[in-house]
C-alpha cells in the first residue's frame, strides 16, 4: 500500500506537469489541442535520441533541448494550422479535429524518425528502456525511496507552479495572457499584441510538457512513439476537472486522478477483490462524472463555464 501511495504522488506530479499547460493553453487560445500528446512523446524522444545516438546521460541537456523543440512545435502548429483555420471562421470543433490530425501525423513522423535512427545505429528506438541519468540524484530519506523520476518531477512540478504563478500574476506578459484569456477582442482593442501573446503561450505550454516527457523516460520502463497517446485521455480528464480554466482545480484534478488510479484501485482490489484490469474504467468513470457535473464543458468547445455562470446570474 505504501508503494501505491508513492505511485499516486509520483503520478500527481506527472499529471500536474502535463495538465497545467493544457489548461493554460486552452483558456488563452480556446483550442482543445489533442496534439498535446505529441509534446509528451517528443519530449521523451529528445531524451531517448540524445541517449541512444549521442550517449548523453544528462537530463539537464535533454530538458533544455526538449523545451525548445516541443515549444517550437506548439508555435508551428498554431501558426500553420490553428490560426489560419480560426481566421477563416472555423468552429472550435473543426480546430479540435485538426489538432487530432496533427496528433496522428506527428506520431507517424516520429515512427519515421525512429526508423531512420534505427538504420544508422541498429538500436531499437521503437521501444526504449528506462534511462538512468548521471546528473539527477537519487536516494532514500526517512525510509522513503526517492527515485530519479521522483526527484526530477518534484523539482519540475514545483518550478512549473512557482514560475507560472510569477509569470501570470506578477508580470506584464502574464497579465496580457490573462487578458487574452478573459476577452480576446477587448484585449486586442486595448493594444495587447494578441497573436504574439498566443504564440508565447503555446511556446511555454509545449515546452513544459516536453520537459515532463523527458522525466517520463526516467520513470517508465518502455517508451514508445505512442507513450503520450495512452496518457492523453488521463491528462484531459485532469484538465476537465479544472474546467480547462482553473489552474488550481487542474492541480486538484491531478491529485484526484492519480489517487484514484493508484490508491483507489489498490484498495478496491485488496478489500473487494476487484480486478486490477478495472483501472482504466475508474479514470473514465471519473471523466464522465465530471462532465455531467459541469455540463458546459462539453468537449465541443464553447465558453469556459465561468462566463456562462456569470451570464446566467442575470
Amino acid at each position: 500500500m505504501q508503494q501505491a501511495v508513492m505511485n499516486a504522488f509520483q503520478y500527481s506530479l506527472f499529471y500536474l506537469i502535463f495538465s497545467l499547460p493544457l489548461t493554460l493553453s486552452y483558456r488563452t487560445t480556446k483550442v482543445i489541442n489533442f496534439a498535446h500528446a505529441n509534446f509528451i512523446t517528443y519530449g521523451a524522444y529528445v531524451a531517448i535520441l540524445l541517449h541512444g545516438i549521442l550517449g548523453s546521460n544528462l537530463m539537464s541537456l535533454a530538458v533544455i533541448v526538449a523545451f525548445l523543440l516541443t515549444g517550437s512545435i506548439a508555435v508551428i502548429n498554431n501558426m500553420l494550422v490553428f490560426t489560419p483555420l480560426q481566421k477563416r471562421g472555423s468552429s472550435p470543433a473543426i480546430v479540435m479535429i485538426s489538432s487530432m490530425g496533427l496528433w496522428i501525423a506527428y506520431k507517424y513522423l516520429l515512427y519515421m524518425i525512429t526508423d531512420i535512427a534505427n538504420y544508422y545505429t541498429t538500436k531499437n528506438f521503437v521501444s526504449y528502456g528506462r534511462i538512468t541519468y548521471s546528473d539527477v540524484p537519487r536516494g532514500s530519506v526517512g525510509g522513503i525511496d526517492f527515485s530519479q523520476a521522483l526527484v526530477a518531477s518534484l523539482v519540475a512540478a514545483s518550478l512549473t507552479v512557482v514560475l507560472l504563478y510569477i509569470l501570470l500574476e506578477k508580470t506584464k506578459i502574464g497579465r496580457a495572457m490573462r487578458a487574452v484569456a478573459d476577452n480576446p477582442s477587448l484585449a486586442e482593442i486595448s493594444g495587447i499584441p494578441r497573436a504574439l501573446i498566443i504564440n508565447l503561450t503555446w511556446f511555454i505550454c509545449g515546452g513544459i510538457v516536453g520537459v515532463g516527457g523527458v522525466i517520463w523516460t526516467s520513470f517508465s520502463g518502455a517508451i514508445t512513439p505512442e507513450a503520450g497517446d495512452s496518457m492523453i485521455l488521463q491528462v484531459f480528464t485532469v484538465g476537465f476537472i479544472g474546467g480547462l480554466v482553473s489552474l488550481l482545480r487542474t492541480g486538484i484534478g491531478a491529485v484526484l486522478i492519480a489517487a484514484i488510479e493508484n490508491v483507489g484501485i489498490a484498495v478496491l482490489n485488496a478489500f473487494f477483490g476487484i480486478p486490477v484490469s478495472f483501472r482504466p474504467f475508474l479514470t473514465f468513470a471519473t471523466l464522465i462524472t465530471t462532465l455531467i457535473a459541469f455540463p458546459p464543458l462539453g468537449a465541443g468547445g464553447g465558453l469556459p463555464y465561468r462566463f456562462l455562470r456569470r451570464g446566467s446570474k442575470k
Partner: protein
C-alpha cells in the same frame, strides 16, 4: 511570309527524316527479336505480411522485418537454384499489434489478390482475421500466435509454432523445479494471457502448487499502479514467485517497476516467451533485477539445432541483431509458404493450403521439423529456457540456458551465480 514557308518546309523535312529513322530503328529491334529467343518473363508471387512494427510487440516486430528480408532472399536463391523461374516478393504492412488493423491489412491483401499471408503476431489478432481468411480461402500462417484456443482443425489458419498448452507445461515445470510452490500469475487480460494462465494454473496444480491469477489491462502507457497491486498481492498471499505472461513493451515496463519494489525483488520470477528478444529488457535496471531474482523464461526453441545457430549468426552478420523469439518460426513460415505455392502449381488458396500441409511434412529449418498437427499447429515443438545475463554490446544479453524434456527442465549451464 517567306520565313513562315521556310519554317513549314523545315518541319516537313524533319518529320520525314524522323519517320525514316524511326522505321529503321524499329526494323532493327524487330529483327533482333526474331533471331534471339527472349527468356520468358519471371513469374512474381507476392506474399503478404502483417507485422507488429508498432504497438506492444514492436520491439520484436522490428527484428522480424529483417527476418522476412533474409527469408525472402534465401527463398528466391533456393527456388532459382532448383531451376524455377519465379520470384517471391514480400508485401509488408504494419498492424500496430492491433486486432482491427490486422484485419484491414488482410483485407487489403485480399484486394490485391494475395492468397498467402504471414502474420499477424498476436493470438487476439489471429482470432479476429480467422473468419475472413476462412471464407475468402486465404492461407494464413502466424509464426507466433500460441493461444491454445485457436487450435482449430480444417481451417485456413496455420501456426509454425506449438500452442501454449505445451509451453504452459514447460513453464510450470520450470517454476516447480526451481522451488516455487505458491505463485501469482500476472498476465495480460487478452486471448494469449488468459489461455496461458489457465493452462499454467491447471498444470501447476497437478504438480502440487498453487497459482493465483492476477490479470492486467493491456495497452496502457504505464503499469506502475498494477505492479504496486501485484506487490501487495504477493505479500498478502505469501507467494514465493511471480509468473509473468506479457508482451514486449508491457513486460519491460512491468519488470522495470518491479525492480524498484523490495517485495518483488525478494521473490523468484518466471516469464513467458513474450518479452524475449525485446531490447528494453537489456537495460541495466531490468538486467540487475534479473540477476537478483534469478529470472528465467521459457520459449519455443529447438535448442542446439545447427540450422538455428547458422540462422542466428547470419542475422547478426547481416543486420547486427540477434533473432529474438519466434524469428526462426517466421523464417520457416516464409520458406513453407514459398514452396507450398510452387507445389500447388496454381496461385489458389485451396490448392496452396493442401500443398502447405504436404510441404511441412518434409521441411526442416531453424525451428526444427515443421510438420503440422491436425489443428494446423506445429506438431513437434520443443521449449528452451532463457535468462538475462551480463555481457554483449548492450551490457546484458539473452541467453538460452536450458531445455524442457519429458516433464522436467534440464539446465545446460548455470545462468546466475
Amino acid at each position: 511570309m517567306a520565313l513562315d514557308m521556310r519554317a513549314i518546309a523545315l518541319v516537313i523535312v524533319a518529320l520525314i527524316i524522323g519517320l525514316a529513322a524511326g522505321y529503321g530503328i524499329a526494323a532493327m529491334i524487330g529483327g533482333a527479336a526474331t533471331t534471339v529467343t527472349v527468356t520468358p518473363q519471371k513469374k512474381v508471387y507476392s506474399i503478404g505480411f502483417t507485422l507488429p512494427l508498432s504497438g506492444e510487440l514492436s520491439s520484436i516486430g522490428k527484428v522480424w522485418e529483417k527476418v522476412v528480408q533474409l527469408a525472402i532472399d534465401d527463398l528466391n536463391k533456393e527456388v532459382q537454384a532448383y531451376g524455377f523461374n519465379v520470384e517471391f516478393r514480400a508485401v509488408i504492412l504494419d498492424d500496430s499489434t492491433v486486432e482491427e488493423k490486422a484485419l484491414q491489412n488482410v483485407q487489403s491483401f485480399a484486394q490485391q489478390g494475395i492468397k498467402v499471408v504471414i502474420g499477424p503476431a498476436a493470438s487476439a489478432q489471429v482470432k479476429v482475421v480467422k473468419s475472413y481468411v476462412d471464407s475468402n480461402k486465404i492461407v494464413l500462417i502466424s509464426p507466433s500466435s500460441t493461444a491454445p484456443t485457436l487450435a482449430i482443425p480444417n481451417d485456413y489458419v496455420f501456426r509454425t509454432v506449438g500452442s501454449d498448452a505445451g509451453q504452459a507445461k514447460a513453464l510450470a515445470a520450470l517454476a516447480y523445479q526451481e522451488g516455487a510452490r505458491k505463485v501469482v500469475v500476472f498476465h495480460r487480460n487478452d486471448e494469449y494471457g488468459k489461455a496461458f494462465a489457465d493452462f499454467f494454473e491447471s498444470y501447476f496444480k497437478e504438480m502440487g502448487g498453487t497459482a493465483i491469477k492476477l490479470p492486467y489491462q493491456t495497452g496502457l502507457s504505464d503499469y506502475a499502479s498494477e505492479v504496486a497491486t501485484l506487490a501487495s498481492k504477493v505479500q498478502s498471499e505469501g507467494a514465493d514467485a511471480v509468473v509473468l505472461i506479457a508482451f514486449d513493451t508491457d513486460g519491460a515496463n512491468i519488470l522495470s517497476h518491479a525492480a524498484e519494489s523490495d517485495i518483488l525483488s525478494s521473490v523468484r520470477w518466471f516469464v513467458s516467451e513474450g518479452p524475449h528478444g525485446a531490447e528494453e529488457l537489456l537495460s541495466s535496471t531490468v538486467g540487475q533485477f534479473a540477476s537478483k531474482v534469478k529470472l528465467f523464461g521459457t520459449r519455443p526453441l529447438f535448442i542446439a539445432n545447427p540450422l538455428y545457430e547458422d540462422f542466428k549468426n547470419r542475422m547478426i552478420q547481416k543486420f547486427g541483431v540477434e533473432p529474438g523469439v519466434f524469428s526462426e518460426n517466421l523464417y520457416d513460415a516464409v520458406k513453407l509458404a514459398g514452396w507450398a505455392i510452387l507445389r500447388a502449381g496454381t496461385y489458389d488458396g485451396e490448392a496452396i493450403r493442401a500443398a502447405l500441409i504436404e510441404v511441412a511434412k518434409t521441411y526442416y529449418g531453424p525451428s526444427g521439423w515443421t510438420i503440422f498437427d491436425s489443428a494446423g499447429d506445429k506438431a513437434q515443438q520443443d521449449y528452451g529456457v532463457w535468462a538475462i545475463v551480463p555481457g554483449g554490446p548492450k551490457g546484458y544479453q539473452f541467453k538460452d540456458v536450458g531445455l524442457y524434456e519429458r516433464g522436467s527442465i534440464i539446465f545446460l549451464e548455470q545462468a546466475y551465480s
